[in-house]
């Protein structure tokens, strides 16, 4: 799920950036530092949409670095249990398959793949129905439901299922290409 929230961060700026475009430098550094990171609390920081305020800088003794408290608005993505996501399959093996929804990695174990889909090994390992009409392989897009999340301080990992109504393959790369 996406959220638009305000976060705060103390930015350290090298003295060489002190000048007319110091603020731009600060913001670009913020983007570089923060976007794409993940915190267990807020989820993945997808994009910074604006800077609310930059507090008074504090010069560090000895180094000359200046610390600015920066408040910024950003879009975060945080997966929840029970949430339904669309994801791209990245790897298929006999234990199940891995998929990515943006920055989030999701594992779907084979017992949460419908019983009528069987694992086919080979160059392009895949799960296929007996009539071959539905196939899950690398680059397939699937809709899945998250049934568990593992949230660490800097990492979120999910497990999902496609064994439910309206879940499963939503486009088959083999048929389109």
């Amino acid at each position: 799920m996406f959220f638009h929230i305000v976060l705060e961060r103390n930015m350290q700026l090298h003295p060489r950036h002190f000048g007319r475009d110091m603020k731009d430098k600060l913001v670009s550094k913020l983007m570089k530092d923060v976007e794409g990171t993940c915190s267990g609390r807020h989820g993945f920081i997808v994009a910074i949409t604006g800077v609310e305020s930059i507090g008074k800088g504090l010069i560090r003794d000895g180094t000359g670095f200046v610390t600015f408290p920066v408040k910024y608005q950003c879009v975060v993505f945080r997966p929840f249990k029970g949430e339904i996501l669309e994801a791209v399959v990245t790897m298929v093996n006999k234990m199940g398959f891995f998929a990515e929804a943006g920055p989030v990695q999701i594992f779907v174990s084979n017992h949460l793949i419908p019983d009528d889909m069987e694992f086919q090994t080979g160059d392009m390992p895949n799960y296929t129905t007996s009539d071959g009409s539905v196939r899950i392989q690398k680059e397939s897009e699937v809709r899945l439901k998250i049934i568990g999340t593992r949230v660490d301080a800097t990492e979120i990992f999910c497990i999902g299922t496609i064994k439910d109504d309206f879940l499963g393959v939503i486009s088959d790369p083999g048929s389109t290409s």
Binding site: M95, F98, Q105, P125, G148, R150, F157, I159
Partner: protein, 475 residues
């Protein structure tokens, strides 16, 4: 008024459903025979339903189990959130406060406490059922059981587990990212690099084929069966939960508060025995001594029992008997033989004998009786003397018995008594068949004796006496 009874029932049901085969194993109790203490958990919970706050030592003594074992079980129940416990250092004074509180709350239930130790500080543990928490815990437990089965049934929302066959380390699907190896498509153990195997579903592990259609259907059936069985077997419990749902949950508060309240209630009850005590302790309107609720059981066993009826009668023989009841009165006096010491043989003859001997006896002994019976005492006197000579033995036997008979009859007027006598004799005559207790043969023989006497000597007897005589012949 909040009743604790439904909640106690809940506790008992839950105890039997979930803790019936629970065993607590002591560190040193390794022998199977000794450590098999299944059922104690249920016993302890049952005992707690009859108490409020209880000192664990006392409870152990009541249940005749070792304090250690009790503590172990109680600790378990504390973890299960069924009971709350309290530990405090106390001297004899603290114990006294508690004891009086117990006395107030559970009258007559406390048992002998040891001699008060002189201001020695002891750590005492107390425990008490936590009804509100029990209600929640039981509901939560049922919910989890059901959910687990249902999830397993749908193979939904279950996190696949993996196990390393070589070192038995376990992983879940959430660890998948760390377990994949770049070289093959298996999951590998982090510590020994062995190939992990998926752990088949725990509940239906047996007879599991390798994921083929049939096996999964079988598994599904089995789980479904299990679920329905569970629902069926736990129905009493769920019913009780439903019944308890809207009732106010009994609360005892913590130990100190409970003691204070119990003692206050006690004082209030003592000061005002008319039952205002309930309103005095303002505790959400729930009366404190839940356990004090008295059950009165009335057993109507054997109400139709002949013996019982008789005993009822025997308890009221001294009341004024209406004439038509005199027969029964006589019967009773007969049954009071223990105190009357009369020979059962004379029952049939009792009426006439009583007349005669009464007269004699009352003339000699009893002034009051004499007043009533003076008229015919005189009439009979001569005859009596004669007869007495002849029947000294019989008379002696009868004397005591007649004494009581007289006391019964003395309440009636003499005429009434005469009528009564008549009825009585008639009753006896007809009743001989029905009433086995009345010995007809003996009665017949004695009456015959009397009859002879009367025929000979009763020339001057009054009308009443003639009637009597006739009756005797009839009898």
């Amino acid at each position: 008024m909040a009743s604790i009874e439904p909640f106690n029932r809940l506790v008992k049901l839950a105890a039997r459903a979930f803790y019936d085969d629970m065993t607590t194993k002591g560190e040193n109790q390794t022998k199977v025979g000794r450590s098999d203490n299944r059922g104690t958990a249920v016993v302890i919970l049952d005992a707690l339903t009859r108490r409020q706050w209880v000192r664990e030592e006392d409870l152990a003594k009541d249940l005749k189990i070792h304090t250690k074992q009790l503590r172990r079980t109680l600790r378990f129940f504390e973890e299960e959130k069924l009971i709350t416990r309290d530990h405090r250092k106390e001297n004899s004074k603290g114990a006294k406060i508690y004891n009086s509180a117990v006395a107030a709350a559970v009258d007559g239930q406390r048992n002998g406490r040891e001699g008060d130790d002189k201001l020695k500080m002891h750590t005492q543990s107390y425990c008490c059922l936590d009804y509100s928490q029990i209600y929640d815990v039981v509901r939560y437990r049922l919910h989890r059981m059901k959910k687990k089965l249902k999830d397993e049934m749908d193979s939904k929302n279950t996190v696949q587990e993996y196990i390393c066959p070589s070192c038995n380390k376990r992983y879940t699907a959430l660890d998948a990212l760390r377990l994949i190896s770049p070289y093959d498509e298996d999951f590998h153990c982090e510590s020994c690099n062995g190939v992990l195997v998926a752990e088949s579903d725990k509940l239906a592990a047996q007879e599991m084929g390798d994921g083929d259609d049939n096996a999964s259907r079988r598994r599904h059936d089995k789980l479904k069966d299990m679920l329905s069985k569970m629902e069926e077997q736990l129905k009493p419990l769920t019913d009780q939960l439903g019944r308890v749902k809207d009732l106010p949950i009994p609360e005892f508060g913590n130990l100190q508060a409970w003691e204070v309240r119990a003692n206050a209630a006690n004082r209030a009850a003592n000061g005002d025995p008319n039952g205002d005590s309930k309103s005095l302790h303002g505790f959400n309107g729930t009366p404190m001594p839940y356990l004090g609720e008295t059950k009165v059981e009335v057993a109507f066993s054997g109400a139709d029992d002949k013996g019982d009826v008789k005993s009822v009668n025997t308890s009221t023989p001294m009341k004024v008997l209406p004439p038509w009841m005199i027969r029964e009165g006589m019967n009773l006096t007969k049954e009071q033989r223990g105190e009357a010491g009369a020979d059962p043989k004379i029952d049939g003859a009792a009426p006439s004998a009583s007349d005669l001997l009464d007269d004699k006896k009352s003339a000699i002994v009893n002034d009051e009786e004499k007043i009533f019976q003076d008229e015919y005492v005189k009439a009979y006197y001569a005859a009596l003397l004669n007869r007495q000579h002849e029947q000294v033995e019989t008379v002696k036997k009868e004397e005591d018995f007649l004494n009581t008979a007289i006391t019964n009859e003395a309440y009636d007027t003499s005429t009434q008594r005469q009528v009564g006598m008549k009825f009585k004799r008639e009753d006896y005559g007809s009743g001989e068949d029905e009433w086995e207790e009345a010995p007809p043969a003996g009665g017949g023989s004695t009456s015959e004796q009397f009859k002879v006497d009367l025929n000979v000597e009763a020339a001057a007897s009054e009308e009443e006496d003639d009637e009597d005589e006739n009756d005797w012949e009839d009898g």
